[in-house]
């Protein structure tokens, strides 16, 4: 790509770039995260179906426990805080990685992973308590929808934790190579997206579900 062509932007009306790919494809460091962004958005579409299911079934409790009796707002507040701060430290890890600072990148990734583990631990504790009280997913349609929606998010967090661990090892072994940086960027997009989905979950499931 020549420098003259490279400086012509898509949005310049008088430019020669027709937006039909004259400049050739973008570099891999743009295309790969963009493709991952499309995946994350389709993941959100998947979650929207689970949200819609949950919203339709909230009242189908089959005489069993209702959302008001089951959910503990204090636990949810801690979960929310852990995930939000982990999103922040994930951003700090990206800032450190961009400057090729290995120590801080690893530290912030570790903090991100630990906060994610705190979140997951509290969620599993909540699930175990509910199942112990006889409010498992087989109790009613409402609880099936609840465990599917929140459990699916928890599964994503678990996958994210595995991914963080993998990236820490890869960074350690291979350093800040270009393809490692791409993966790191995808990881941060994934992790921030999980937090965005959690905002919807704590609002719709836990806060609106426990309104008097």
């Amino acid at each position: 790509m020549s420098t003259e062509v490279a400086t012509i932007g898509l949005t310049h009306g008088a430019s020669e770039d027709t937006g039909l790919g004259h400049r050739g494809p973008e570099s891999k460091s743009i295309v790969v995260p963009y493709g991952f962004w499309l995946f994350v958005l389709s993941d959100m579409v998947l979650f929207s179906a689970l949200f819609a299911t949950y919203a339709t079934l909230t009242n189908a409790t089959d005489g069993g426990p209702t959302s008001n009796q089951l959910f503990d707002r204090n636990l949810v507040a801690i979960e929310t805080l852990a995930l939000l701060i982990s999103s922040f430290t994930c951003g700090l890890a990206m800032i450190a990685a961009k400057r090729k600072n290995m120590a801080w990148t690893q530290i912030w990734l570790l903090v991100t992973g630990l906060l994610g583990a705190v979140f997951l631990f509290i969620e599993l504790y909540e699930f175990a308590t509910m199942v112990g009280e006889g409010a498992g997913p087989q109790r009613s349609a409402f609880l099936s929808a609840f465990f599917t929606l929140v459990g699916c998010h928890g599964a994503h967090v678990t996958a994210g934790l595995l991914w963080i661990g993998t990236m820490m090892a890869q960074l350690w072994a291979k350093g800040f190579r270009e393809h490692i940086m791409r993966r790191l960027l995808c990881l941060s997009v994934f992790w921030h997206a999980l937090d965005i989905i959690w905002v919807a979950i704590f609002t719709i499931v836990y806060l609106i579900g426990t309104l008097p």
């Binding site: 919203a55 922040f88 800032i95 806060l207 609106i208």
Partner: protein
């Protein structure tokens, strides 16, 4: 990482180039998100607000917080380098709203139309 050129596309989640403004962006985002979360929890537990409006208010706060996350953490902006990211996001949001509002709308009407009466409705809804 290459220097960010405003004429080029930028990947979603790509941080800014200056360390101070970069960190500031994340701190502002964290502060806004924490504030919105705190307001959400307060709105949900206070009794000083008009009851029927609380759920709507919570949804608005959640959407605002998602916007904060998108702008400050995922760096989705309205700039020309972000056009592709924003278009993909717009399509995603469209599908999400179609699925959610469509489902709630249709299923709500089905419940209204299928249910014989309030006393039996309650029984049927419980299965």
């Amino acid at each position: 990482m290459t220097e960010i050129d405003p004429e080029q596309n930028v990947a979603p989640g790509e941080p800014h180039s200056n360390i101070l403004s970069e960190t500031t962006a994340y701190v502002i985002g964290l502060a806004l998100a924490l504030g919105l979360t705190a307001v959400s929890f307060w709105v949900a537990s206070t009794s000083s607000l008009w009851g029927p409006g609380v759920a709507v208010g919570l949804v608005v706060l959640a959407i605002a917080q998602m916007g904060v996350h998108l702008v400050f953490f995922l760096h989705i902006t309205s700039g020309p380098d972000n056009t592709n990211n924003v278009l993909a996001l717009a399509f995603g949001v469209l599908v999400v709203f179609l699925v959610m509002i469509g489902t709630i709308w249709i299923m709500g009407h089905m419940n209204d139309n299928m249910m014989p009466g309030p006393e039996i409705t309650n029984l049927q809804m419980q299965h």
